[in-house]
């Protein structure tokens, strides 16, 4: 699974891009977020407030119940501030 981090999610985790293999029981965005929170202090901090977080699966906005699979590109970022 390819993971991307933007803005302060990147600063807090210290990662911009990585390839990871979450356990097989992680099949939804909400489960992936819970798994991320348990990956150590930096990830726990970055993923502490899920209301401040947006998730995209294969470059489309995703909600907690959306499916995730091994060959997906998942991105984590704060609410956008362009324009």
């Amino acid at each position: 699974m390819k993971m991307l981090y933007f803005a302060w999610l990147k600063t807090k985790t210290g990662v911009s891009e990585e390839s990871v293999t979450p356990p097989a029981e992680v099949t939804k965005v909400s489960e992936l977020l819970a798994w991320q929170q348990a990956r150590g202090p930096a990830f726990a901090d970055a993923f502490a407030d899920l209301t401040a977080l947006r998730v995209a699966v294969n470059q489309e906005y995703a909600g907690p119940d959306d499916q995730v699979a091994a060959d997906d590109e998942i991105a984590f970022f704060p609410p956008v501030t362009g324009g």
Partner: protein, 155 residues
Amino acid sequence: MIKVQREDFDVGRELAQLTGGNHKIGGVTLFVGLVRDMADNAEISAMTLEHYPGMTEKQLEKINEEAQRRWPLEASLIIHRYGRLEPGEQIVLVATASPHRQAAFEACHFLIDWLKTKAPFWKLEETPDGGHWVDARDSDNTAADRWRLEEPQSD
């Protein structure tokens, strides 16, 4: 058309390219966003716009298609820059061209409101206290939401 680029843009040239040869166009609305030197009482020396290559283009295309679907546009253009920008520099251009002005005005307003809440860009401001990620504003969501409620007129 969508352009995501580091370079600056020339509004006059973009306008000429957008409308050139199409004499059905009766009016064009342009919105240009600029970098300010103040935000929340902090002085800003520069800002860096980060984006998500791939998703940015995809989301801007979707927003642009939605505008084309809702209003009778002859042409539309979104240019959004990324990278480090200083106060006074151009960040974004939205241009909409239509036979009549109302569609051009409404579609331009819709595009800038929607891209502010959907296009994956993030602003890092440089202030005397260091770098600061800009927080999303509720007022931007409210501005975007009003386009969910209002059905535009067709002309």
